[in-house]
């Protein structure tokens, strides 16, 4: 069962995901307001914005993880490859199999390192030992964790450091080869060297994956992304090609934010 090369269903400049007029609530509190944006196919879209502006919420709407939060609801339309992901004919688990996610807070499973990477494969029915071994090594090498853990694949993932756990969670998501990858601050607890490595990995993955990355690090957004979006208080303030976004932002509040003069 060798990984199939992913076909590009859309031309590179097409939209993999389109978010239109989305509002989102937790209980009575509205956290996203009339938000519309496209996520370009096989490109990296960075989402930046102050804490609590709704970045995580937006990501969680794209793989319908907020379905699981009691009291959370949304209106509007989110389409992936042209299909409404909230439509009645969409199988949620199938959707999530194609849309991987790396969480803001590392959440490794309490099992072994090996089990963490293979869980997603196992629920897809891929259980052949040699295949699993090969995939575990490949993905752990991708996230530059292999050398640190290759002798203790059977030991608990919870014994890893925060940064190691973060890379493990990225490996776990990569192992199942999703077409879309949602990353919520994937480098927040990494040292500079590993951050650089992960950024490099993101640039590599871009060839075959559509990536959305949330980051608080402007330089990181600048280095890794093709498109950058600025969210503030649940509204999309600016969305532009990254080069334009950082050199020539239209909105004054974007300018303040990226130069660090921002006032809430």
């Amino acid at each position: 069962m060798d990984p199939q090369p992913l076909e590009r269903t859309n031309p590179p400049l097409g939209e993999k995901i389109s978010v239109s007029e989305v509002n989102a609530w937790y209980g009575a509190q509205q956290v996203l307001f009339d938000l519309s944006m496209g996520i370009r196919t096989c490109a990296v879209t960075a989402i930046i914005g102050p804490s609590g502006c709704g970045k995580t919420t937006l990501l969680r709407l794209m793989n319908r993880l907020n379905d699981r939060v009691p009291g959370a609801r949304m209106t509007g339309l989110i389409r992936m490859d042209g299909r409404d992901i909230n439509g009645p004919d969409v199988h949620v688990a199938e959707l999530r199999k194609r849309v991987g996610m790396v969480f803001q807070k590392p959440n490794p499973f309490p099992g072994s390192i090996f089990d963490n990477v293979t869980f997603g494969l196992k629920i897809r029915g891929m259980v052949m030992r040699s295949f699993l071994n090969e995939r575990v090594e490949r993905t752990l090498r991708q996230v530059h964790l292999w050398d640190e853990v290759k002798d203790k694949l059977k030991s608990s993932a919870l014994n890893l450091s925060g940064g190691q756990q973060q890379r493990l969670c990225l490996a776990r998501a990569l192992a199942v080869e999703p077409t879309v990858l949602l990353m919520d601050e994937p480098a927040s607890s990494l040292d500079p060297i590993n951050t650089a490595r992960i950024e490099e990995l993101i640039l590599q993955l871009r060839a075959q994956h559509t990536i959305v990355i949330v980051t608080h690090n402007m330089q990181q957004a600048g280095r890794t992304s093709d498109v950058t979006a600025f969210l503030h208080k649940g509204r999309l303030i600016e969305l532009a090609d990254t080069a334009t976004f950082f050199t020539n932002p239209k909105s004054p509040s974007t300018q303040d934010y990226i130069t660090g003069r921002f006032r809430l």
């Binding site: 199938e94 991987g100 969480f103 807070k105 499973f109 869980f119 919870l158 014994n159």
Partner: protein
């Protein structure tokens, strides 16, 4: 005068306790602990001493008799072991299923709240009442008669509220992010629950369940009400058999006017305690083995 500060108050308290701790307080606490342990050991030793004449295989494998020296505990021992197993099988699966439903099911939140309230109430009902309910429902209405099955059903019913409550608590201690992680990989909610949450919660679930079940099987009252008597000439060989069990046997022997039966009662208590101890050690062992694997 400076205003009263709770922060400062605590700081001073702590310093004070630490000073005491260096001297008297620690010693006092240690003495109290030792006293309690010694009392428990003394009581156990006393039981051993009284029952020593009867703590032998003859007693363990003997059947009941009107002659104290000849009476054995075998039917009661087997009855208790059967019950332990049956109550586990009858209360754990439904208890866990109900707990999972209450934690993850789609039932209206108000109904769930109502059920939780009732559960804590049910857990507080005296065991005699369960005995009466068991007698009426299982022995009479369902026509099972007084047999192991109606006893096990009664005790399972009695254990169920605590089993549900402990399972729920163990499940709730597992962080929700864990299931989110599994679901985000494409697992269905049931897969996420089964492969991630439940294994993580299992040590808590098992030790809680074992505690509540061994507690329930040590009860004499509900089964006395149900109609269990001590004088049963055979060990049960099926769940429809008539039965006796250790607590009832102990109750019966300790109520005899002849003093010869006292050693029997003491020896039976030692055996009952032994079973409970083994059961608890087993629960502890499972828990620790699991802990090693999942590090929680």
């Amino acid at each position: 005068m400076r205003p009263f500060s709770l922060f400062e108050f605590f700081e001073r308290m702590e310093r004070w306790v630490a000073q005491l701790g260096r001297g008297g307080l620690a010693l006092l606490v240690r003495l109290m602990t030792i006293t309690i342990i010694l009392l428990a050991l003394a009581w156990l030793g006393y039981l051993f001493w009284i029952g020593q004449a009867r703590l032998n295989t003859e007693f363990l494998f003997g059947f009941n008799s009107v002659v104290a020296r000849k009476a054995g505990v075998y039917p009661a021992l087997m009855g208790s072991l059967w019950l332990l197993l049956m109550v586990f099988l009858l209360s754990f699966p439904p208890g866990l299923a109900i707990a999972v439903h209450l934690e993850r099911g789609r039932t209206n939140r108000r109904i769930k709240h109502l059920i939780s309230l009732n559960l804590s109430n049910l857990a507080g009902i005296p065991s005699v009442v369960y005995g009466l309910a068991g007698l009426e429902i299982f022995a009479r209405q369902l026509n099972l008669g007084v047999c192991l099955m109606s006893a096990a059903l009664t005790l399972a019913l009695m254990a169920l509220p605590t089993v549900i409550i402990t399972c729920r608590e163990a499940i709730r201690r597992v962080p929700a992010e864990l299931e989110d992680g599994a679901v985000a990989l494409g697992a269905t909610p049931l897969q996420a629950l089964w492969f991630q949450t439940l294994p993580t919660a299992l040590p808590g679930i098992l030790s809680g369940v074992m505690l509540s079940i061994s507690r329930v099987v040590g009860e004499a009252a509900p089964l006395l009400v149900l109609g269990a008597v001590a004088f049963v000439p055979y060990a049960p060989s099926s769940v429809w058999d008539y039965f006796t069990l250790l607590p009832v046997q102990i109750f019966y022997w300790s109520n005899q006017s002849q003093p010869d039966f006292a050693p029997n009662a003491a020896a039976a208590v030692v055996i009952l305690l032994g079973i409970t101890l083994i059961f608890h050690l087993f629960a502890l062992w499972i828990r620790n083995r699991w802990k090693e694997r999942i590090h929680l």
